[in-house]
């Protein structure tokens, strides 16, 4: 198409402008910098045409069309502000204002309001802008200024409805609502939730929930999108409500999951007071509850470490940085080599983790360096590398919305990577087929063409079944398989023996449904498999990943846009932490320790150990045997596992333990030296998200008290130990050095893809199909332990200790303690009612929880939130098993009411 065919030319207020074909008059005008007042229009939504404030006149058209819904056409002559239009707008706005306090809108001393506001805002009723919490964001004020409203002839009739405070994060004062519908539409259309709707009619019309239930009971996920959409003070955050207008706001990357939404942090008086999703980035103006309401309180959490602490007489006492780092520098040299280990947190910035591994290798001369994601992630990444030729987790989150078929596994994507869920819903709205494979009923089931409710841990059998269908019905993409894969016949033979009734019996899913799903996946292309890491029981996870990869390869769904196997990482920098080398086997750039030693010896000008180091689980074994005597825990909750009492015992065997954390964690109490790390909002750096986008982290405020960035701390100690190569004064200098080893990280903080994102076609060798045996469950149910317990992630939990979580307002309420979800059928059988205290007993131990009777789990299955890892440990681990990753997500239990 030529340029002309794609554009139209029109005049607005006599000015000639060109607009994209299909654009509305409003879009064309906005693009050209011409203002048209709007109210019900909200950029991310389809135009609604409800408020009639955006009316214009078009030559040759009758009446006053609404510019938000009328397409711009070639040769149109539009006027946006004739006296007739302004008069009509004034009438509309006056009508709207008869239901909304308007003193604040018409007051001519408004600009002084903020100055004199003081405490008055605490009054129940809004009578002017000095009692409105909208903090100068009110769109009515802007409209009134433009349209010119002086006196209003209609009387103001307050609705006098009570302010609704049931949501933990924002209040709803519908006395200020002008019924523009933006909140309702954003919740239904964009978030696909529909927690709120217009209810009743006429003068009783109000935004509300079914039967006036709380938002929580109406399926609300507290994403805050409605708050952002609201043009008035009807919906406002609880915390930022009375803090007034922010002084400034800056964009940075959310640290709470591996999507890495771009957020604008608002600052007042040196404190982060609020966080709003930015329009840039993959999230495009959306976020989830953690990014929207869990930033300010995270940064200014009461458990933040204020200064370095040194243990004297068994008590942690405040110390200066100099004392603390000197003590570490004095003590560490005696443990050089195999007696030392370092564990970097997968929540650290890339710069932090790079310095951490360099410290271990160069200063301490050991490869005993691992990261907090490795416990679960390393085996999986190895699996991916073997199958798809690349350990890159996902292709692209943005591409999901263009897939023609999506298979999600375990559906917990909503709680682990909420933005990915939005993309799935978007794809469905564009016509994609959605297959949900999940033992639990999740929000996505509502959008699915087919929901396969499998019994927990039976995923592998289900995938094998699907493969068999694909092969036997000849749905294989043979050209792809021939070109890129080996051993197809081996796979074919192994699957020939698989019996449909075996699959049915194991999975609890009908063969018919499996056949349908397989056909749909194999024939609707591009098809994308989405699998939030950590959502399948560990025992089956690696085989599941193999099976998923095989499914994708069989159908040629690899290496093409919107296809592939998308494993979504849990922790925000789970990808970056490997890239920069925080692994016992890998140097920066994922270069194997076994092969690349000379290169790094030259680069760092020192001798490096030749053997790979110990992985985290082996480190504990070595601590037990007295081989590792000093441990440095580098970053936030790098050892969440340490809450297990067994690990705690082990940590107290250490001669020297350094814990560097943002919070005073449980582990910190066991340390000899505790170092306060800066939070993500207090330092510059980068995170690499799950699709391998290297994203900037910005220093928004000064570090709190004596906290310092992790890389700075590492360098400080290294220099005290007279090591060279640690004289960095800024994080960007660290990044420059990383760029020497990983070209893709050079000038990387502009958010581009750091590495090839599509596996197979880039790899030199062929992928090999390997028959997978379905392993019978190790945790089988019997008459003693008749129920299967599975751990599930929660949207409302942070990757932080239970203690930190419990002091996060709102979040603590939504995920306050161990909740055991149990089906109504099982509950009736066991005489348990909702809210009862129950005892869970497994073959390994027992725990107490509160019962939640729900329709969402299968009869025979119960579910605990993964966050309460302490309970899970008690239920799943025999005390002395610590040297291998173990099954923590699945076990057979019995449940009884506590009398």
């Amino acid at each position: 198409m030529t340029e002309e065919a794609r554009t139209v030319t029109l005049t607005i207020n006599g000015q000639q402008i060109t607009a994209k074909k299909g654009a509305t008059i409003l879009q064309a005008a906005t693009e050209a910098g011409i203002y048209i007042p709007t109210l019900c229009y909200y950029q991310p939504l389809t135009p609604y045409g409800g408020c009639r404030l955006c009316i214009v006149e078009v030559e040759g058209m009758k009446g006053f069309p609404t510019s938000c819904t009328t397409p711009a056409a070639e040769g149109m002559a539009v006027s946006t502000d004739t006296p007739a239009i302004q008069e009509l707008r004034r009438n509309v706005l006056e009508l709207i204002l008869s239901e909304h306090p308007y003193f604040c809108v018409t007051c001519d001393r408004r600009e002084y309001c903020e100055q004199f506001r003081g405490q008055v805002q605490k009054t129940r009723m809004v009578v002017g802008c000095h009692t409105c919490p909208e903090n100068g964001r009110c769109e009515l004020q802007k409209l009134a200024d433009y349209i010119g409203i002086g006196e209003i002839s209609l009387p103001y009739t307050p609705r006098e409805v009570p302010v609704l405070r049931d949501s933990p994060f924002f209040d709803r004062d519908y006395n200020l609502c002008i019924l523009c519908g933006r909140c309702v539409r954003v919740c239904q259309e964009l978030r696909g939730v529909g927690a709120i709707a217009f209810t009743y009619r006429g003068s009783h019309a109000l935004v509300g929930t079914a039967f006036g239930r709380s938002l929580e009971d109406s399926g609300c996920q507290f994403c805050g999108a409605c708050v952002d959409a609201c043009p008035t003070g009807a919906l406002v955050e609880k915390t930022a409500k009375w803090l007034g207008v922010p002084e400034r706001s800056e964009t940075t990357t959310c640290p709470h999951c591996s999507i890495g939404c771009q957020l604008e942090l608002q600052v007042k008086a040196g404190k982060v007071i609020n966080s709003i999703p930015a329009l840039s980035g993959i999230n495009q103006g959306q976020a989830c509850v953690k990014g929207r309401f869990g930033i300010a309180q995270f940064v200014h959490h009461p458990a933040r470490l204020a200064s370095p602490l040194i243990k004297r007489d068994d008590i942690l006492q405040e110390a200066t940085w100099d004392e603390a780092s000197q003590l570490i520098a004095d003590r560490l040299p005696e443990y050089r080599g195999e007696q030392f280990a370092l564990l970097s947190s997968a929540t650290n910035t890339n710069e932090d983790s790079y310095i951490a591994q360099k410290f271990a290798r160069v200063v301490m001369n050991t490869n005993n360096i691992d990261n907090s994601a490795s416990f679960y992630q390393t085996p999986l990444l190895n699996g991916l590398i073997r199958r798809l030729g690349s350990g890159i987790i996902a292709s692209s989150i943005g591409e999901i919305e263009n897939a023609a078929c999506i298979v999600t596994i375990n559906g917990s994507v909503a709680s682990v990577q909420p933005i990915a869920e939005l993309k799935i819903k978007k794809a469905v709205s564009k016509g994609a087929k959605l297959i949900v494979i999940s033992p639990f009923k999740v929000e996505l089931c509502r959008f699915a063409d087919s929901w396969l409710q499998n019994s927990p841990g039976s995923e592998v059998a289900l995938f094998l079944g699907m493969m068999q269908v694909i092969i036997s019905e000849d749905l294989v993409e043979q050209a792809f398989v021939d070109k890129y894969c080996e051993n197809f016949n081996g796979l074919k033979e192994s699957l020939a023996e698989l019996k449909p009734d075996f699959v049915e019996k194991t999975t609890g899913v009908s063969w018919h449904q499996i056949v349908e799903a397989a056909r749909c996946y194999a024939t609707t292309k591009p098809a994308s498999i989405i699998y939030p890491l950590g959502s399948i029981p560990l025992t089956y996870e690696l085989d599941s990943v193999f099976a998923i990869c095989d499914l994708a390869m069989l159908t040629g769904n690899v290496g093409k846009p919107s296809s592939g196997v998308n494993l979504l990482g849990m922790l925000n920098n789970a990808q970056g932490v490997y890239d920069v080398g925080a692994s016992p086997y890998l140097y920066p750039g994922c270069q194997p320790v076994s092969e690349m030693r000379q290169k790094f010896e030259a680069a760092w000008s020192c001798k490096l150990p030749s053997m790979p180091g110990l992985a985290v689980t082996k480190v504990f074994d070595a601590i037990d045997k007295g081989q590792v005597k000093a441990l440095y825990i580098f970053g936030q909750d790098a050892l969440l596992m340490a809450m297990c009492s067994r690990y705690k015992d082990l940590l107290s065997k250490l001669e020297f333990l350094v814990v560097q954390d943002v919070f005073l964690s449980d582990t910190a109490y066991l340390a000899h030296v505790v170092l306060p790390a800066a939070s993500f909002a207090e330092q510059d750096g980068t995170f690499t998200n799950t699709e391998h986008r290297i994203q900037p982290v910005r220093k928004i405020i000064e570090p709190i008290n004596y906290a310092r960035p992790g890389w700075w701390i590492g360098c400080q100690i290294a220099q005290k130990m007279h090591a060279s190569g640690f004289d960095f004064s800024q994080s960007s200098e660290v990044m420059n050095e990383i760029g020497n080893f990983i070209p893709q990280y050079r000038n990387a903080d502009d958010g581009h893809f750091g590495m090839p994102t599509r596996g197979r076609e880039k790899a030199g060798d062929k992928a090999k199909f390997m028959p997978i045996d379905y392993e019978e469950a190790t945790e089988a149910v019997d008459s003693q332990y008749p129920l299967i317990l599975m751990a599930q992630p929660s949207l409302y939990c942070f990757y932080a200790s239970v203690d930190v979580q419990s002091k996060m307002a709102g979040f603590s309420r939504l995920c306050d303690r161990e909740l055991l979800e149990i089906s109504s059928a099982d509950a009736v059988k066991l005489g348990i009612s909702d809210g009862d205290e129950v005892r869970i007993v497994s073959r390994h131990g027992e725990s107490i929880a509160k019962a939640k009777v729900t329709k969402n789990v299968l009869c025979g299955t119960v579910c605990l939130k993964f966050h309460f890892i302490d309970s899970l440990f008690r239920l799943t681990v025999d005390r002395d098993v610590v040297t291998e990753p173990f099954e923590i997500k699945l076990c057979a239990v019995r449940v009884g009411k506590v009398q």
């Binding site: 239904q188 529909g194 709707a197 009743y200 009783h204 109406s218 959008f447």
Partner: protein, 152 residues
């Protein structure tokens, strides 16, 4: 399964799983059960794959669809503009007091239920109150007792 749920199963399955089916489904349920129960709202939502709030929103929009059980005598008080101007609210208050229930509620004996209605189209008679099919115009507060007594 409660019998209630089985009851509307047939109604659901003879409609397509589309948003457009919502109103016909609600009407059929009302014909069968007399009103839309809380349980049916969630069943309909589940069947049509929309949220309960959406179902409730639509149900509460139409005056012809009831979300509360209806008494033997259904009392409706108009709150339209004309009635509002002539203090229709005072009539509503009085009925509420006399029956001991709020609007959208039902008396314990199941005899009376009370609703607010936007407009009956008999504005000339404002304020208006309707009991089943009987229309009472030019209402005054003092007539309320006398009218209700007729139905006791």
């Amino acid at each position: 399964m409660e019998s209630n749920e089985n009851d509307i199963g047939d109604i659901l399955t003879c409609h397509k799983k589309r948003r457009e089916s919502l109103i016909p489904i609600l009407q059929k349920i009302q014909d069968k059960l007399g009103y839309i129960t809380r349980g049916t709202v969630s069943e309909v939502a589940e069947y049509l794959n929309i949220s309960e709030s959406e179902v409730f929103g639509v149900a509460s929009f139409y005056t012809g669809i009831h979300l509360t059980p209806r008494g033997e005598y259904s009392v409706k008080v108009c709150e339209g503009t004309a009635c509002h101007v002539r203090a229709g609210e005072r009539i509503l208050d009085e009925v509420e007091r006399k029956l001991g229930i709020k609007h959208d509620e039902i008396t314990r004996d199941g005899k009376f239920s009370l609703e607010r209605v936007a407009c009956f189209g008999s504005c000339a008679l404002a304020p208006v109150m309707v009991v089943n099919k009987d229309v009472y115009g030019h209402m005054t507060v003092s007539r309320v007792v006398e009218i209700l007594r007729k139905y006791r």
